[in-house]
Amino acid sequence: MAQLQTTGPIPAVARGTTRPTARIPASGAWLTRLLVAAALVAVAVVVSLAPAVLHPDGAIGLGEIGTTLTIKGAGWVPTLGWLGGIIAFLAAFVFPRDERFIQAVTITLGSVAAMAIPAYVGANLTTLEPEATGIGPGLTWAWALLGAAAVLPWFGLLTWDRTRPLLGVGWWKWLFLLPAVLWVFALTVFPLVYAFTTSRYAYRNGRISRFVGWDNYRRLLEPDNVPAGLAGAALLGLAIGAAVLAVGFLARWLPERRFGVEDRRIVLGRLPVFIVPAVIVYLSANVLNDPLNEQMTITFMFVAGAVVTEMILGVAIALFMNREIRGRGPLRAIMTLPIFATPIALGYLARAIFYEQGGPVNAVLGSLGLAQPPWLSSPDWAKVATILVDVWQWTPFVFIIALAGLQSLPQDVIEAAEVDGATGLQVLRYITLPLMTPILWLIFLLRAIDSFKVIDIPQGLTLGGPGRATEYFSMFNYRTARKFFDYGGAAAQAFLLLLIVMILVSLLWGRIRHVYEDDGVRA
């Protein structure tokens, strides 16, 4: 495993830091940071305490103005404002001292973005509040303080934090990165944050109607079930933990009647892999509201059913094809064809294939004297049908990557095992699969993430029915937004899915890293 053993520290030369780092007095840099932070904190305090807009009936605070902006279709302004403020604040502290150029740029851009609120309100005051008499001290001071925060880093660079080179070593590298960063910010970060803004509002007749705070998130839960659900999840976690520990201990202890520190570390390391998914599934089924609990449960069923089947079939086919057989090339090409089909088209195609009266699948089953399942009119069979279509499309993906992994395995190890008399099964069990473990986890991760998002196959095949039997989470989420125009609720649902997928992905990444850094090396 030579390629896995080169994970030690990278020499400084390789990191391209051969040039001496400029010596920057820490006190000057910290003064800049503190002043910027103080200005931004002052903005927060001022806009909380002082009126943002003056009105004959009394002052209007920034929160209310933010709500008005959002309701009038300019929700991007407050979103950009507070996001910019947070970015500027974080930038004051997260960058190392020698990255002063990008730090200054980020603080300035963040502060200028935050100035969008006072600027926009000032320019559209009478549109927002027809009877307003002027901008209040809250926004005026915020404008001034944000302006100060925007120029402070540059002022510091020129005065109390002056060094050579002025902008830090290799500052120009950020100029190459900046377009990409702005691109990601504009098309990924900002929409995500704007979705959060959306999730805090109710919609009516296709547009924002009122601020509802956390109500859209509360609506995800069934309040009466939360205490019992949490207690049940805790008990389930404990039970699974105990079972994993017991089985792990026995598995490690039995062969050599020994259980050392390394064994304990390995067993404990596997606890989250079993506990976290089980707890998530349990909580989803017992704490979320109806029908979200049902949608989440059937989504887990789909992910588990489809991905596990695809993994088993894909790896099996890859093992079969990883040998000299006649027509191997064309066969591999043909096997990958389903990946190129459009999933929605597959859904419609499958509708014809699984048609219950005279459809080809039932016709074949009938001609063999077998039962003809109600593929589309039974809730259980409809789930099976959607899983089968997904398996048909994505097994080749598993197959391709698994085959590539198999072909990159060191043949000398396998040949040595064969020379030592290992059978094919023994080679598979003790050499091939352990060496393939990292890549198998990676395939599992990719397929799991993708499966959580399934929508096109059920949309074409079952429209989510019968009942809600195949209305998987993404379809439910899509309908909430696009059919029922509950964009706020849909945004909250999307964040719930994001949270769950992030937890599971983190878990899987941890597992993959563990395998690479530990099991892989040991293998």
Partner: protein
């Protein structure tokens, strides 16, 4: 122009002769190439493109250059669903452009995406569309959001600036859908309502009549109540009906979630709840917006619905509209109840059931229950209730349109009697009859149309007469299932659709399904605001 030239031009403009024939006859008549060229340009594009199909195209109503000169060079964008009802719009586009000198861009969106796009366009202020073809359940959001324009002012304009039509020409049930708070919002076009289609050949077959009599003690006839329909469907279920499925079924329905199955329940349940003593209470209590769908009448309807489904193939649970129609048209079911497309499609496709189809108003009940008071009313004659379930696709003018008058011209042109008589008789375009001018006077009281329009399209006259009569009875009925026209209608109906499907495919009891449905309705009310919903609900009922 002399008479011969004028007739030649008119035939070509109406699409009765092809371009090639037009040019040949024009030359034979001694017209110069320059003159022929001018005439070709003047004729609407649709007419020029019309193929000399049997029956010809729709009559030309707007003569070239007859529109307001101020419209020349303007452009409007109209949205329509990408479905059969789009066909006439495409056909008439050329006529509109030739008459007004304006240009119309038709944006055809898939039916599932059309409303979200229209609403987004209006709510975000993009205002790309000047007019749109809408389903009536969109009306709640469009009116409450103040996105569409009442057209009373244009309608009242009798200067000849706009093509004329009569809103009173629509039958009362349909007419009520087009208005909101006493203002005209929707320009008539399609008319949807569900009627019963039955196999006339089977119900009048002497052998079956005798067998049915001996089996049940009753005469075999067109069912007047849902109980009668169940009995007849049960009798025929499993018997060969002449279709290609071998053993036929009592009924064919579309019950797939998302396949408009909830309309079946709405239409069926109406006479269990609505009657002379209760004309409005079906969906919500108009005092507090509390859902009424848990009532005894709804429960009885649900049980009848579940019993009825037993007389169709199990696969129906996954059937969308087209599949249910197809099964009936191929002669495999005795009954289906659906929109006005079924009989025209039988003609259009020359289906097995052509000449064998009877149509009648949907059956009723001998008792209905007021959902609010719980009081039951017995009737001696079947309590028949009309319905306007479905889209009744028709045009609205967007409030932000800068060419609202031109947009109205477009919609009014489509609404003229001449166009509507033609399109109602054609099966492929999805425009169904709901107007007196589409019905002959010897069949319905007050009718001003002719059965010839139907016969010209290949209809069997008896089929056509029954068909027209059934829709007249349905829309003329003073008792109508109230159409839900409030924000969130699609949400309410989707929950109904899902709960119905669950009841059909799982162990959920009718009572539980209705209770869940009511809870779903309450949740939607809470989300959208009970007070706001109540106000617009009352407005939609004219209260």
């Amino acid at each position: 122009m002399d008479m011969r030239t004028a007739k030649l031009f008119a035939d070509f403009a109406a699409g009765h002769i092809s371009r090639r024939t037009f040019v040949r006859r024009a030359m034979a008549a001694g017209l110069s190439l320059v003159t022929v060229g001018q005439m070709l340009r003047a004729v609407p594009a649709a007419a020029q493109d019309a193929s000399p199909a049997a029956g010809g195209g729709a009559p030309v109503v707007a003569q070239p250059g007859s529109g307001d000169p101020a419209w020349a060079g303007k452009e409007i964008t109209v949205q329509a669903i990408d479905d059969s009802v789009l066909i006439p719009w495409e056909e008439v586009r050329g006529e509109f452009e030739a008459a007004t000198g304006a240009r119309v861009t038709i944006v055809a969106d898939p039916i599932g995406e059309a409303f979200p796009r229209l609403l987004e366009d209006a709510a975000t202020g993009s205002n790309r569309f000047d007019a749109a073809m809408i389903g009536m359940w969109w009306l709640g959001e469009l009116v409450a959001g103040d996105y569409i324009l009442p057209y009373d002012e244009f309608y009242a304009d009798d200067s000849g600036r706009f093509p004329s039509f009569d809103v009173e020409d629509e039958l009362p049930g349909m007419r009520a859908l087009r208005q909101y708070n006493g203002q005209l919002y929707v320009v008539p076009y399609d008319a949807d309502g569900q009627c019963l289609y039955y196999r006339r050949d089977l119900l009048t077959d002497q052998a079956h009549m005798d067998a049915y009599k001996s089996e049940t003690g009753n005469d075999l006839a067109v069912p007047r109540t849902w109980d009668e329909l169940k009995a007849i469907a049960g009798y025929f279920n499993g018997k060969p009906l002449g279709g290609d499925a071998g053993e036929g079924n009592g009924i064919s329905m579309h019950l797939k979630v998302g396949g408009q199955g909830m309309f079946h329940f709405m239409s069926l349940s109406a006479p269990f709840v609505i009657g002379p003593e209760n004309k409005n209470l079906y969906w919500f209590n108009p005092e507090n917006m509390d859902p009424l769908v848990e009532s005894e009448g709804h429960r009885r309807a649900m049980e009848t619905y579940l019993e009825l489904v037993q007389y169709g193939p199990q696969a129906m649970a996954a059937w969308a509209l087209g599949e249910a129609w197809d099964y009936f048209l191929r002669g495999n079911a005795v009954f289906t109840y659906s929109w006005g497309d079924v009989a025209p499609l039988a003609v259009e496709r020359n289906a097995f059931v052509k000449g064998r189809i009877g149509t009648s108003q949907l059956p009723g009940t001998l008792a209905y229950v007021n959902p609010l008071s719980g009081e039951e009313y017995q009737t001696t004659e079947p309590n028949l209730v009309g319905n306007t379930t479905g889209g009744s696709w028709a045009g609205v003018i967007m409030k932000a349109s800068e060419n609202a008058d031109l947009a109205y011209y477009w919609l009014a042109l489509m609404a003229t009697e001449e166009k509507q008589q033609y399109y109602a008789a054609v099966g492929t375009d999805g425009v169904d009859p709901g107007r007196l001018s589409q019905m002959p006077p010897d069949v319905v009281e007050g009718g001003t149309g002719s059965i010839d329009a139907y016969v010209a399209q290949g209809w069997n006259p008896e089929d056509a007469n029954e068909y027209v009569r059934a829709y007249y009875d349905n829309f003329q009925n003073p008792n109508q299932l109230p159409f839900l026209r409030i924000p969130g209608t699609f949400d309410y109906w989707t929950q109904m659709d899902v709960r119905l499907s669950e009841t059909l495919t799982s162990d959920v009891t009718p009572q539980d399904a209705l209770a869940q449905m009511a809870q779903d309705f309450r949740d939607i009310n809470d989300r959208l605001g009970v007070e706001e919903q109540l106000e617009i609900y009352r407005g939609s009922l004219g209260l």
